[in-house]
């Protein structure tokens, strides 16, 4: 496999409601910031790939308009995933592996404020049996939380600790949307949204964008003296039929861990795309991260831009490795209900 490195990452401050700013106006600042930081332009990019969801904008082919944010003349090689931009990064990785590109720009964007996110997300379900019931995202997450609690895989105390810690960690993240601290009684007195999840167990409605640049080994050092290497990347999906899944386990995540041979790696930091408080202790135990600092950025509980938060987990791991002299970091991105589709990315800083 060709070695590929992350050479830059930029994130728009996460907003509760971006108001009049449209998607293009959210993307431009992060792409420009990346280019300025690295002293490059679109001409240095071989392949551009974005991640977004047209249902969030409520317009067909809305992602095409997003391209107006970048320089497309002379014509560029470009692609899009109707997924979190973490998968746009995966596609870019493949493009570099195939020898079609040496450098790639990835960006993700999403505004959840204009629509009804619960209704929109329910449309990703199987269209015959589940979507017509309009199950909202919180109820689906609550289903898994209930299974995990009932089987004693996680505890209510762990969920509480996750929420309190996310708020405390938001101080490490200049772009966090939610920064106010809470205590145990704030949590216990919060109204249930869908038992066992209360408002504080759920991520905030968020608007924003992020961008990242990756490059092959030959190009990476032209862009930066400190590339962070993508040592391993793997993603797997489980059945779209919720009834056929075991929500208390994740065989696919286990398979990804084996594929990436993670068990002998001493991770110093991890960023997990855990949108609901019960998901963090669950994944920590699945991924053997009990003693590893996880979601030092606060994670999705302090800002959860749809179609971006997975890329952000990779970006925040990249930043943590760069800023803290760590060697190994693990990033996780997810898609679908109840952690249906998961990506693991093993990042390494060279000493």
């Amino acid at each position: 496999m060709k070695r590929v490195a992350i050479v830059g990452y930029a994130q728009h401050p996460i907003l509760k409601n971006a108001g009049a700013l449209n998607e293009v106006e959210l993307i431009m600042p992060v792409v420009h910031q990346l280019f300025n930081d690295l002293g490059i332009s679109q001409k240095d990019i071989d392949f551009t790939c974005s991640g977004s969801c047209d249902y969030l904008q409520g317009a067909a082919f809305a992602f095409v308009e997003g391209l107006s944010a970048i320089q497309t003349n002379p014509p560029i090689k470009e692609s899009h995933v109707e997924m979190d931009a973490a998968w746009a990064m995966y596609e870019s990785m493949l493009k570099i592996q195939m020898g079609d590109a040496e450098t790639a720009l990835i960006y993700g964007f999403g505004k959840s404020s204009p629509g009804d996110l619960d209704a929109i997300i329910s449309l990703q379900m199987d269209p015959y049996y589940i979507s017509p019931l309009w199950p909202d995202r919180v109820s689906l997450a609550a289903l898994q939380a209930r299974v995990l609690l009932d089987q004693n895989i996680i505890t209510p105390e762990q969920m509480l600790a996750t929420v309190i810690e996310a708020r405390a960690n938001s101080k490490n993240n200049k772009n966090a949307l939610i920064t106010d601290l809470i205590n145990e009684s704030d949590y216990l007195n919060n109204a249930m949204v869908s038992s066992p999840l209360n408002q504080l167990d759920c991520p905030p409605i968020s608007d924003g964008s992020s961008a990242m640049i990756i490059a092959s080994e030959e190009k990476a050092y032209e862009f930066t003296d400190h590339p962070i290497w993508i040592e391993g990347i793997d993603h797997r999906i489980e059945s779209s039929n919720l009834g056929s899944r075991n929500l208390a386990a994740s065989n696919t995540l286990q398979a990804s861990m084996n594929q990436l041979n993670l068990k002998n790696i001493k991770f110093e930091v991890a960023e997990l795309h855990t949108q609901f408080s019960h998901e963090l202790p669950f994944l920590k135990s699945l991924l053997n991260l009990q003693d590893v600092p996880v979601n030092l950025s606060g994670g999705p509980l302090v800002g959860n831009v749809m179609m971006c938060a997975g890329l952000d987990a990779i970006g925040k791991t990249y930043e943590a490795l760069k800023e803290n002299q760590f060697t190994h970091g693990l990033a996780h991105a997810t898609s679908g209900p109840c952690l249906q589709h998961n990506m693991l990315v093993h990042l390494e800083a060279q000493k």
Binding site: G19, A20, L21, N22, V24, E25, M28, V31, H32, Q42, Y55, Q57, G58, E65, L67, S68, A69, I70, Q71, T72, N73, S113, P114, G115, D116, A119, I120, L123, P127, S131, P132
Partner: protein, 166 residues
């Protein structure tokens, strides 16, 4: 077999999503001017191309179009088509003409109606000017312009309108 036992081979599940649509801050600035009867395009700070209606960025350069450029309501027909098929809900009776309108000083065109002229006389390069609705009816929409109508000026060679990169 009673009717309740008849197997169903389909079910209806209508999808209806509601959005609070925002035009974007650049288009909002444009529409606020249109409400006052002014057409204000936006120019790219790099290649100087003037966009009307502006969408906030220059797709040629990938930068925000932050220079406001007041334009006239005169221009020429860059291209047109004669519509013969009625569109449900559209009050205009066919045949009528939709044209790409290139305002003087702009580098892109937009779609609008051509009226007050025989269809056979309409041609590419023809000079035209906006016919506005009464001021009381103005809103945040290019529909403040009822249509464009020909004016007595010599035709323009549209080949000369091609954007020249400076």
């Amino acid at each position: 077999m009673s009717s309740e036992d008849t197997p169903k081979d389909y079910s209806e599940s209508p999808i209806n999503l509601e959005y609070f649509y925002t035009a974007g801050s650049a288009t909002t600035r444009f529409l606020n001017q249109v409400k006052e009867g002014n057409i204000v395009g936006q120019a790219c700070p790099k290649c100087k191309a003037v966009y009307v209606p502006p969408r906030g960025s220059c797709p040629r350069c990938g930068v925000a179009t932050d220079i406001e450029v007041p334009l006239t309501d005169k221009g020429c027909i860059e291209s047109f088509t004669v519509v013969h098929i009625p569109i449900p809900g559209n009050p205009i009776v066919p045949p009528y003409v939709c044209a790409m309108i290139r305002l003087d000083g702009a580098n892109i065109s937009f779609l609008h109606l051509i009226q007050e002229v025989e269809i056979e006389e309409i041609r590419i390069g023809m000079r035209i000017q906006a016919v506005w609705k009464p001021k009381e009816e103005w809103t945040h929409s290019l529909e403040n312009i009822k249509w464009f109508a020909p004016i007595d000026e010599p035709d323009v060679d549209v080949a000369t309108l091609r954007f020249q990169e400076s």
